[in-house]
Symmetry: C2
């Protein structure tokens, strides 16, 4: 094939929309808006994320040297972030709409790969693209709004953590950060096995939102007190701090119980391992605060989960290491986009 | 005040988010997603639009010479476009989420004015901002997802027009296009009165989505056949063509019955007046196809409405002028973003 690749400018807005229709739920697109049925008695849950090339991912349009994300992976991750927000509320997804701002010189195959990645992630959750918009922009931009439904009494919120609650995380943290490092600086992973490298890179490129935890909870503990919680998209430390601030409580976090990828101790210094685990971000696990008995029970169904601390009275969030030494966690270390 | 104006870069992402919280519904923000109650028995209606500075509006960041929209007007129009999509489905709004991509050098006061404009338009519909996201972008971008609810049997769709239906438009067309022209070329309006100028400019800057028509229909005609229809955001001709294509029908459109601003005949040549009325776009009226008796009845409650044609068998959409001369309308004249 020696044909010149087709660019967005070659097909026009209508042409691009027609090509993207096959990624959408054909039963609901074609009108000014999509109509979706809801399960009777459920509340609506809505969230929106905006992702910009060069800030949230790098498909190399903004800076070709910084290509760390394929279009398909960028699409997957954008959807995963939104579905994770729904999971963090205890909701199940109904669908998403996609606003795409696209440079005229972007290859059409890249736009299609982006939508393929979105659909692939949605399929793991039984959801679909139900509408959206496409327009010209100098900066590749993906704005995803996700809609879900939740049993009103089962809404998971940040503000309901109570002193005495156990802090449970649903999986390892730091893997996505490590995967990004391996993409940016391949040499740093020379000592890792091929499968360990691949696993970490996959954690970065194809994170799985924990909608399974919502199902699990609903199935096994319909009458238990609903946990407080949120997702760890901005990092494990950030999630614990946000929950504590919203609930007006403090926490003790046990540094030696934080679940990290198995290769971290032999690969990284303890400082870097702890840093990536606490602050890496984008692991899209859930951080839940709930009575110790409930946490123990949930952990039996969730082998990847770990108890990492305890909610306490006050407002200090302290990290306690294996020797009993304490440091205070603060928001200042969090990710700032500007 | 001689202080340097505050820019987005000065307050950071968290600082900007804190400032924007006051524009949001305080009862539902603060978690990973917003939870909204729905009226029992209603279906969910969702839509998303993406607007980019320099393409859909010009606040002068992309091109300072092309400043035709204040930040507040840009916010109003972005929301109006989404609420109009809900109105076009026969839905009433529940709320919106806002994704904002914002250049670091944008004044914070501009971002706040943008949100003030959004909230002002939402208040006319009793709706609110319930969530969203803010991130850095070289291009000012506003992605709005709007959520509404509809009685399942009352959904307005494009595909249900039938031969014999009257074509009703809910108000004048061409006013927004005229307002834009007055902003771009003030000299062209020298012969207009101040109030006529102001009215046309307002039609461009502060369009009103026709949610009143949804209420009216539900109140007076709960048992009538639901009209086919859509909004005229991309122009009156485009709306008629889209409805006909989706319904597999044609139409006769009466050129001398198209409602246009009262000043058009004395101000513009007949050709320009017709062009702006048919193709101007962004008037955000509704175009409805329904039995003649229903159209006559609806018109009694809607003095701004006009019958502009008839749905016919076949697939040709013909414009018939006062002398009976016919021209064929086609999509080719429509707006293309690329």
């Amino acid at each position: 094939m020696h044909d010149k690749p087709l660019h967005v400018a070659d097909v026009g807005e209508q042409g691009l929309l027609r090509r993207l229709l096959r990624f959408c739920d054909g039963a609901v697109v074609g009108d000014d808006a999509a109509v979706l049925s809801m399960t009777p008695g459920r509340s609506l849950v809505v969230t929106e994320d905006m992702l910009v090339d060069g800030v949230h991912f790098s498909v190399g349009l903004a800076n070709p040297a910084a290509l760390t994300t394929s279009y398909a992976d960028a699409g997957w991750r954008a959807v995963a972030a939104n579905l994770s927000d729904l999971a963090a509320m205890g909701a199940t997804p109904l669908g998403i709409t996609v606003g795409l701002g696209v440079p005229a010189q972007m290859p059409v195959s890249g736009v299609e790969a982006l939508y393929e990645g979105m659909v692939a992630c949605l399929q793991t959750a039984g959801a679909a693209i139900v509408g959206g918009d496409v327009c010209r922009s100098d900066t590749l931009t993906v704005a995803i709004a996700a809609f879900g439904e939740v049993i009103p009494s089962q809404v998971v919120r940040r503000a309901s953590a109570q002193p005495g609650d156990a802090i449970l995380v649903t999986g390892v943290h730091g893997a996505s950060r490590a995967g990004l490092e391996l993409l940016l600086q391949p040499d740093c992973g020379k000592t890792l096995s091929e499968s360990d490298r691949a696993l970490l890179i996959r954690a970065h490129q194809r994170p799985m939102p924990r909608l399974d935890v919502v199902q699990l909870w609903r199935q096994h503990y319909p009458d238990a007190r609903v946990p407080a919680g949120m997702d760890s998209s901005d990092g494990l430390a950030d999630a614990i701090l946000q929950i504590c601030r919203a609930s007006g409580v403090g926490a003790q976090v046990w540094g030696d119980r934080l679940p990290m990828p198995a290769v971290f101790p032999s690969w990284l210094t303890p400082e870097v391992a702890l840093d990536w685990t606490l602050y890496g971000g984008e692991d899209f696990e859930l951080v839940l605060c709930l009575p110790k008995e409930s946490a123990d029970a949930l952990q039996m169904h969730l082998p990847s989960a770990a108890l990492v601390g305890e909610v306490v009275a006050g407002d200090a969030v302290r990290l306690v290491d294996a020797h009993g030494d304490e440091t205070t966690l603060s928001m200042a270390r969090g990710f700032q986009h500007f």
